[in-house]
Symmetry: C2
Subunit: 192 residues, 2 copies
C-alpha cells in the first residue's frame, strides 16, 4: 500500500468526529501554515487511539488509565472543565468584605487527570492590611485546592511579593509569560 | 447603637446565603486563626452589596458593571466556570497525532469579567520536532484565547524555553510560584 493509499483509508474527516469544541476556533492562518500532510483540529473523543498520551509523554509523566477512562474524562472536561472557588473575608460588624481570593481548578491530561489549583486575585482592604489576612486567604485557597485533590497549586507573583508567597509555602518554579491581546496591550503597563 | 448590636443586626448567617460552593471546603484551621470579628466563607450571590469590587479595586482595575451583571456572572461562573480547549496536530497518513496543546479560559472578576487564557502542556512527537509545530500550536492556542475575548494569555516556562516563547510574542511578566500537595512533593523534582 502506498503512502497515498494509506492516507485515503485511515484519515478521518473532522466533520465526522466528536470534537471538544468547534473547528471554527482554530486559526485559519495557522492551518494555512501547516505542511499539507498535517492537520490541526480540536481534540476528538476518539483521539486516545491516535496516540494522544504518547505525545504527552514526550513532555511529562502521563499515567495512562486506559481508553474508557480517557473518553469519560474527555466528556467531563467538555461539560464542566474546571471549578471556580472564590472566598471572602467578612467584617461581621459592618457586614462588609475585607478580603478576597480565588482558586480555580483545572484538570489536566497528565498524571492520570491530575488537577492543578490556580490562585488569583487576592486582595485585602486597606483597613485590614498587616493583619495576616493575605496569608490566611492563601492558606484557605491552598486548602481548597489540595482537599479537592490538586497535586499542586500555582500562582504568579512579582519579585517584591515573592517573600510573602515563600512564607505561604510556595517556591519559584518557572517564569510567568504573558501576551496581551491586540486590543488590550495597554494593560501590560498596568500589570493586569 | 453599640458595636455588638450592629453585629447582631447586620451579620447574615452563611447558611442562609447562596454560596458559590459548600462552606465545608473552607479550612477549619484557617477559620480558627481568624480574629473572632472576622469570618471566612465562600463568595455569596449577594456579595456585590458587601463591597466585593471595592476590595478588588485595591489590587487592580475593576470595571464595575453593576449589581445585576455581577450576580448573573456569579451564577455563570458557578455553572460553567471556564472552557477547556485542547488541540491536536494530526499526521494524516498514519492518522496519528504528532502535536498537542491546551488552552483553558478562566473568567475573572476584574476588568468587567475579563477572561484569561492559560496555555498548558504543549508537546510535539520526536518525529516531528524542529518543524515549527510548537510555534504553530502556540499561535493556534493564542488565537483561540484572543478570539474568545481573552485580554491576555499566559503560560509558565523554564529559562531554557523562554526564547521560544518570546518568539511566539510572549514576555516575562512575573514569577511562577508553586506548592505541591503533601502527597505529591515528589513531583517537584520532576517539574510537573
Amino acid at each position: 500500500m502506498s503512502m497515498i493509499d494509506t492516507m485515503s483509508t485511515t484519515h478521518v474527516d473532522p466533520a465526522s468526529l466528536d470534537l471538544m469544541f468547534p473547528q471554527e476556533l482554530i486559526s485559519l492562518e495557522v492551518s494555512a501554515q501547516l505542511p499539507s500532510d498535517l492537520q490541526i483540529r480540536p481534540l476528538a473523543s476518539t483521539d486516545y487511539k491516535r496516540g494522544y498520551l504518547d505525545v504527552l509523554s514526550v513532555l511529562t509523566v502521563v499515567n495512562d488509565l486506559g481508553e474508557e477512562v480517557w473518553v469519560n474524562q474527555f466528556h467531563a472536561m467538555r461539560a464542566t472543565p474546571s471549578a471556580h472557588f472564590s472566598i471572602v473575608v467578612l467584617d461581621k460588624a459592618s457586614d462588609k468584605i475585607v478580603g478576597i481570593g480565588t482558586v480555580f481548578i483545572h484538570c489536566k491530561f497528565l498524571l492520570g487527570f491530575g488537577s492543578v489549583g490556580h490562585i488569583e486575585d487576592i486582595a485585602v482592604a486597606k483597613s485590614h492590611q498587616r493583619k495576616k489576612l493575605g496569608f490566611l486567604i492563601v492558606q484557605a485557597l491552598t486548602h481548597i485546592s489540595e482537599s479537592s485533590g490538586c497535586y499542586k497549586t500555582r500562582l504568579g507573583c512579582i519579585d517584591t511579593t515573592m517573600p510573602f508567597y515563600q512564607k505561604c509555602g510556595y517556591a519559584k518554579m518557572a517564569n510567568e509569560m504573558v501576551k496581551y491581546s491586540p486590543e488590550h496591550v495597554n494593560h501590560a503597563s498596568m500589570k493586569l
